[in-house]
């Protein structure tokens, strides 16, 4: 059975979390629900940053490569000199690569966020939700749950 602690404000919530950790409750047994970001939580639970950053990095690198790939491939597939510039003109192609870095990076970050947080949750989209409202809820899982 999981134990639920309901608190009404941020200070109590942070204090309770600290007490729990100091009292020997393992951090991975603790789940919480709160109405707005509380930055101390990560520090108290001693968690490392989540994996969204890897999605972002992969997206950004892919975008950069795609930018150069697209421009260089297309210019070579129809090799026509315009404006007396070299076929593979790095400065203008760099712009496309730069823009696609941002585009792919942002889209990948968003997709990664949805994937890692398992959103949208189909079950929660239509069923009536148990609401937390403005309360701070700490759930402590017991045993091997």
């Amino acid at each position: 059975m999981a134990q639920k602690i309901i608190l009404n404000n941020r200070e109590d919530f942070v204090r309770k979390l600290k007490d729990l950790i100091n009292g020997g409750v393992p951090a991975d047994k603790i789940d919480a629900q709160y109405p707005y970001p509380v930055h101390e939580v990560e520090k108290i639970l001693g968690r490392r940053p989540g994996p969204v950053r890897y999605f972002t990095l992969i997206g950004a690198v892919t975008g950069f490569a795609a930018g150069f790939g697209l421009t260089i491939y297309t210019v070579l597939s129809w090799p026509m000199i315009t404006g007396g510039k070299p076929l593979i003109s790095i400065p203008p192609f760099l712009l496309i690569a730069y823009i696609l870095t941002i585009l792919f990076g942002s889209v990948a970050a968003f997709a990664g966020f949805l994937f890692v947080s398992i959103l949208p949750k189909i079950g929660r989209l239509f069923a009536p939700l148990p609401e937390a409202g403005n309360r701070f809820i700490i759930t402590i899982r017991e045993g091997n749950q």
Partner: protein, 436 residues
């Protein structure tokens, strides 16, 4: 707890059933938009000849509108992304309104190159895809950079706008009933505010802000290169990119004031958008006005010191030629009137700021017009000179763009939370001690 409940109630009360004034405003803006679209239909049917653009001035008010609206979009990103990275607290009062403004302004901006094409239905020639024609866009052309820059900017802005709203949508599904609650529930993706969700969310928001921040500088630089990459006197200068970016933030900040001042009054949000917050925005306005003024001085100075007769003539013509009334109005609105913001009393006077912001909008629209048209009207060969006046169709479509923007904004006011409820809760928690 009670305070958070109160914040939710007060902000969402802005979304209650609208009064007559709202409907009149929406009807008016919607009508202007529809009339503009009728003019566009006329242009599509008859051909681009109904517009005043022709040789030598082939870029007229359509491109002016495009540059103007892209510029308006910029301060939205500045307020939401750059000020987020700088942890400027006053951003919370504006960011949602400013992000919405960015999205709507980009939608309007994106329409104008399509309108300007004349044969709008072949717009896909600009997109890179393997086609039967076996040719690809020329990636050395600034116009293709523009396609990439604007579509990326719109995509990233939309994601940023939506992601910022997810926790608020979750609040709204609880606060509303019936079909509206259902819609907000689906839009909120089943957000519950759990530990893991917040953790990924905060990381995502930081990344999006970090991606959007360079866009503030790059998108309008790329728009400016549409001009600066040419060899036309008056366009071909290296100062264009920073000059356009400062102008973009300047005009966008003015538009934020234009939108937020009436919004705060009509929706009774004075408690959340205080005079102090508006004063901070006014300082950004003053600062960017000074940068723009500096660019106005540097441009002719470069021409004179460069000793290029064509360049000198371009700036003489701009100030004293056919379009000189527009030029001097622009100087008045963008450089001289904003200097009043050095006076603290005026910075904190909401009515004064509102009127000033309207004048800055006018001035910045004229700036784009003056730059584009006066350079094209007089290039190198006197044989190819000519002047340009917008036709009725162009004026109608221009007004239609404004109609679309304000209609979209009015609909936003009644369908989505105009302030970020979650961030305001967070802010008020950090500043005051609990008494509840």
């Amino acid at each position: 707890m009670q305070r958070n409940e109160r914040i939710e109630r007060e902000i969402l009360s802005a979304m209650k059933r609208p009064g007559a004034l709202y409907w009149i405003a929406l009807f008016f803006c919607g009508s202007v938009f529809i009339v503009g679209m009728l003019f566009w239909g006329h242009q599509l049917k008859t051909g681009l000849g109904v517009a005043g653009i022709s040789h030598p001035v082939a870029w007229g008010v359509y491109i002016t509108n495009f540059v103007f609206w892209v510029g308006i979009a910029h301060s939205g990103t500045l307020i939401s992304a750059v000020l987020f990275l700088f942890r400027a607290k006053f951003r919370t009062s504006f960011n949602r309104a400013a992000e919405a403004m960015t999205v709507f302004a980009l939608m309007v901006a994106g329409l104008f190159p399509l309108i300007h094409l004349g044969r709008t239905w072949v717009f896909y020639y600009l997109l890179p895809y393997p086609s039967q024609r076996m040719i690809w866009p020329n990636f050395r052309s600034p116009l293709v950079w523009d396609v990439f820059a604007i579509s990326t900017y719109l995509t990233v802005s939309l994601i940023f706008f939506y992601v910022g709203m997810i926790p608020d949508l979750a609040i709204m599904r609880r606060r509303f009933t019936g079909i509206r609650s259902r819609i907000y529930q689906v839009l909120s993706l089943g957000w519950e505010g759990r530990l893991g969700e917040w953790r990924n969310y905060e990381q995502l928001y930081l990344f999006l802000a970090a991606f959007a921040t360079p866009l503030v500088a790059s998108v309008h630089s790329i728009v400016s290169w549409d001009f600066a990459m040419s060899i036309l006197p008056g366009w071909h200068t290296t100062i264009f990119a920073p000059y356009f970016v400062a102008g973009a933030i300047f005009s966008g900040t003015a538009m934020v004031i234009t939108l937020v001042v009436p919004m705060r009054k009509v929706l009774s949000l004075e408690k959340y958008i205080t005079v102090d917050h508006i004063e901070s925005i006014a300082k950004i306005l003053l600062f960017t006005s000074l940068i723009v003024t500096y660019a106005y001085i540097v441009e002719p100075a470069l021409a004179v010191y460069g000793k290029n007769p064509f360049e000198i003539e371009a700036f003489r013509y701009r100030a004293f030629g056919d379009y000189s009334p527009l030029f001097w109005t622009m100087i008045l609105c963008n450089s001289i009137l904003p200097l009043t913001l050095f006076i603290k009393r005026l910075r904190r006077n909401i009515i004064f700021l509102f009127i000033l912001s309207l004048l800055v909008n006018v001035g910045m629209w004229l700036e784009r017009f003056v730059i584009i048209v006066s350079s094209l009207a007089r290039d190198y060969t006197p044989y190819a000179w000519g002047t340009y006046h917008p036709s009725l169709v162009e004026v109608g479509i221009t007004l239609g763009g404004f109609g679309l923007f304000f209609s979209a904004y009015l609909i936003f006011l009644k369908t989505l939370p105009v302030l970020s409820i979650t961030e305001i809760k967070e802010r008020s928690d950090g500043t005051k001690n609990h008494s509840e």
